[in-house]
């Protein structure tokens, strides 16, 4: 999807000519407002959960779901296998819910000006006009703006905040909510299930192809804030959808928490691409459970870019449930000073004729730590299975670190499985070659890095690729010397 539009070579210099529509500035959001109508005191308790549910006027089953999830969250131990210290998170220092007015608008003019200013700076309204089929904008706990272009709304495409989705389509939500990522899946999925707010609900009817992306934008705006959006995407038979999420936050000295759950269902013959450009400030713990079920001949692609955060732990998963299903996870991670990127992928083959591809690229610099962590599982007796895993890492200096933890469980001898991993530094010879052509060192490094991640940048819409490249130029061209 959208592949044709973005395929081909990306010529960085010609980018400068194009007026960019979307900004993904790194850590450069000084705007912060504190005009909440409701802002809960810090800390988590059963009472907080009841208050959230009551405020949202939810059906009882959702309150029950939240409460049982909370119990599991309390019971589950903090996982200690990652590269970052999760036990440093102080759950009682976090605000779990803050609302401006719980109004979802379809017109930017109605969004409070201070909030709109923030999204203007990121370039969302402009991007919406230019190349998106719909936009959702979440500000801390709640979605403040949501709109789907008429042409797609008319064809039955539903793109709402999760809260609105629950109100308008309770049966659909009840059927699928928690069916892909169960409430007791892991400690953070349980936390999200207990306190979720916002996120997107997407439903694409049978045979409807949405050929331009939908975008949701998530912003954490106050300090010590927790954002717990919950997203559910259902693609009907032979439908097609590209969903993009972007994340930013201003930089505060204290920690914030982003714990999301994303559930994706690709019904027979459908194609879902889910792209993420995660650019949280580097005081944010970003702990996300993303999982997709792909049914007969369906395709699911996670395109996952992790640039920001203090610690990210995220392993987008695809269960290839039925024959002919295809899954692909393409990710990049940049771990800079003070950052840990623990990212990867899971592909579980559960049917014949299924294909899974994982491509992971990471760059560690200025003491940053990155890890690829992945699982590929192929059960015995499955026929015609193909699996390909490739992880490449670049270390920019000796202070930085990278690790690879690939798990490949193959119980079926006929499966075609390949795994490749490389770790390297920016080659002295490559650098010399570029410099001998008049290109100065920092620029030469940038060109090599951009080349390294080009598999990724070719797969995101051009507007994002431009900004991504600009961001990387900023990051790398100022860091040398």
């Amino acid at each position: 999807m959208n592949r044709n539009k973005t395929k081909g070579t990306i010529n960085k210099n010609s980018f400068k000519k194009i007026k960019t529509a979307t900004k993904i500035e790194k850590y450069n959001f000084l705007y912060s407002t504190d005009n909440y109508n409701v802002k809960f005191n810090r800390g988590l308790s059963e009472e907080v959960i009841r208050k959230i549910s009551k405020y949202k006027k939810e059906p009882k089953w959702m309150l029950d779901f939240r409460l049982k999830s909370y119990k599991v969250f309390l019971k589950k131990k903090t996982p200690m296998w990652g590269i970052g210290a999760l036990n440093e998170i102080n759950y009682n220092s976090i605000t779990y819910f803050a609302s401006i007015d719980s109004k979802e608008r379809k017109d930017w003019k109605e969004v409070p000006s201070s909030v709109k200013k923030t999204f203007d700076r990121i370039g969302i309204p402009k991007a919406e006009q230019k190349f998106l089929a719909g936009v959702g904008a979440q500000y801390d706990s709640e979605v403040v703006y949501h709109k789907t272009k008429k042409e797609f709304a008319d064809r039955g495409v539903i793109f709402l905040s999760m809260d609105e989705g629950l109100k308008q389509y309770p049966e659909l939500v009840k059927k699928y909510f928690g069916s892909i990522v169960p409430f007791d899946d892991n400690k953070f999925a349980s936390l999200n299930s207990a306190v979720w707010s916002g996120g997107s609900f997407v439903y694409v009817p049978e045979n409807v192809q949405v050929d331009i992306p939908l975008q949701a934008y998530f912003r954490i705006n106050s300090s010590n804030m927790g954002q717990f959006e919950r997203t559910l995407i259902i693609a009907g038979k032979n439908s097609k959808i590209h969903y993009i999420e972007g994340c930013t936050a201003p930089r505060y000295s204290s920690q914030s928490l982003h714990v999301a759950v994303v559930e994706v269902i690709a019904l027979e013959g459908s194609t879902i691409r889910y792209s993420t450009i995660q650019n949280w400030a580097n005081n944010i713990y970003n702990l996300v459970t993303k999982r997709a079920f792909a049914y007969k001949n369906a395709t699911v692609e996670w395109v996952d870019g992790n640039l920001g955060s203090k610690l990210t732990m995220k392993y987008p998963a695809i269960y290839l449930k039925e024959e002919g299903a295809r899954g692909e996870v393409l990710s990049i991670a940049i771990a800079s000073k003070g950052q840990k990127q623990d990212a990867g992928a899971k592909i579980i083959h559960e049917a014949n004729n299924t294909t899974g591809i994982i491509v992971s690229k990471s760059i560690s610099k200025d003491g940053g730590v990155s890890a690829y962590r992945g699982i590929v599982k192929i059960s015995k007796g499955l026929k015609n299975i193909k699996s390909n895993v490739k992880c490449d890492a670049i270390l920019m200096d000796s202070k930085s670190k990278t690790d690879t933890y690939p798990v490949i469980i193959v119980d079926e001898p006929t499966a075609e499985v390949s795994h490749e991993a490389t770790v390297g530094r920016i080659g002295e010879e490559q650098l010399f070659y570029l410099m001998s052509r008049g290109i100065e060192e920092s620029k030469a490094i940038t060109l090599i890095v951009l080349g390294f991640i080009s598999d990724f940048s070719k797969q995101i819409p051009l507007e994002f690729a431009i900004e991504l490249n600009r961001l990387i130029e900023m990051e790398f061209e100022n860091s040398v010397g």
Partner: protein, 256 residues
């Protein structure tokens, strides 16, 4: 007497603590073409890399003056901007880096001027035509999957775009078919003709390229220095007698 454009005096160079160049001296004037021959390991490529400024090549004494400037403290990009170009013996592959984008970056940086993608495209097309390079080249990754000959022609394309004052060709003729070789020589000749300031160092193992180019000087390197020089007919002598005789003569003279 015109001043030399490049003047190398008593240059000694270590690579990983091993001395490769030893009190090497060479002066090149504008519009001159110098050929450097010599057995493997005599220091020819080291000379090329050292002039271009490879960080691995450690200059322990001596001077390199280019256009009246001591270039030894300059990084390779600054040397390129001054007008030095090295055609690599084994050009590096960089995946994901588009060849056209690389060319444009190197053009704008070396010449220190901006050019629109459209204009640059026209300029490149003009050059690719004369070098018999297919347009599809430009959309490929830098040197990735190029054949040996394609890589060499791609180097010459860069030379023609960067129009240096000093071109160093490090065994560019190795592995080239005769038609490509002629194209390379034609590029050198036309640069020499068109540019007021141009000279070249041709490092080679074969006489063929020298037959076409008719260099002003042919030098034989051995043990990190030039041991014998002559005009372009000297290449015939070398072909006839091999390096052994020249080296033996040099050693005898050295003993005396």
């Amino acid at each position: 007497m015109t001043k030399p454009i490049l003047s190398i005096t008593n240059l000694s160079v270590n690579v990983e603590n091993k001395k490769i160049l030893s009190k090497f001296s060479l002066k090149i004037k504008n519009q001159e073409i110098h050929a450097i021959m010599g057995p493997n390991g005599s220091g020819k490529s080291t000379l090329a890399y050292t002039i271009m400024g490879h960080p691995k090549y450690n200059v322990i004494s001596g001077k390199i003056i280019f256009k009246n400037k001591n270039i030894l403290l300059l990084s390779p990009d600054k040397r390129a901007k001054l007008g030095i170009f090295l055609s690599f013996q084994t050009p590096l592959e960089i995946s994901g880096l588009n060849y056209f984008s690389f060319l444009k970056n190197s053009y704008t940086n070396t010449h220190n001027k901006n050019i629109t993608a459209l204009k640059f495209n026209m300029l490149v097309k003009e050059k690719t035509k004369t070098l018999n390079i297919e347009d599809s080249f430009l959309s490929r990754d830098l040197n990735v999957g190029f054949s040996g000959g394609e890589k060499k022609r791609a180097e010459i394309l860069q030379m023609n775009l960067l129009t240096p004052s000093l071109a160093i060709l490090d065994e560019t003729d190795s592995g080239l078919d005769i038609d490509s070789l002629k194209l390379v020589c034609k590029s050198i000749s036309s640069l020499k003709k068109e540019k007021k300031e141009f000279s070249a160092i041709i490092i080679t193992h074969y006489k063929k390229i020298l037959d076409f180019l008719k260099p002003d000087f042919v030098h034989v390197m051995y043990d990190g220095k030039i041991i014998k020089s002559g005009n372009h007919t000297f290449a015939n002598y070398i072909e006839k007698h091999g390096f052994t005789k020249i080296i033996n003569d040099y050693k005898k003279q050295f003993k005396k």
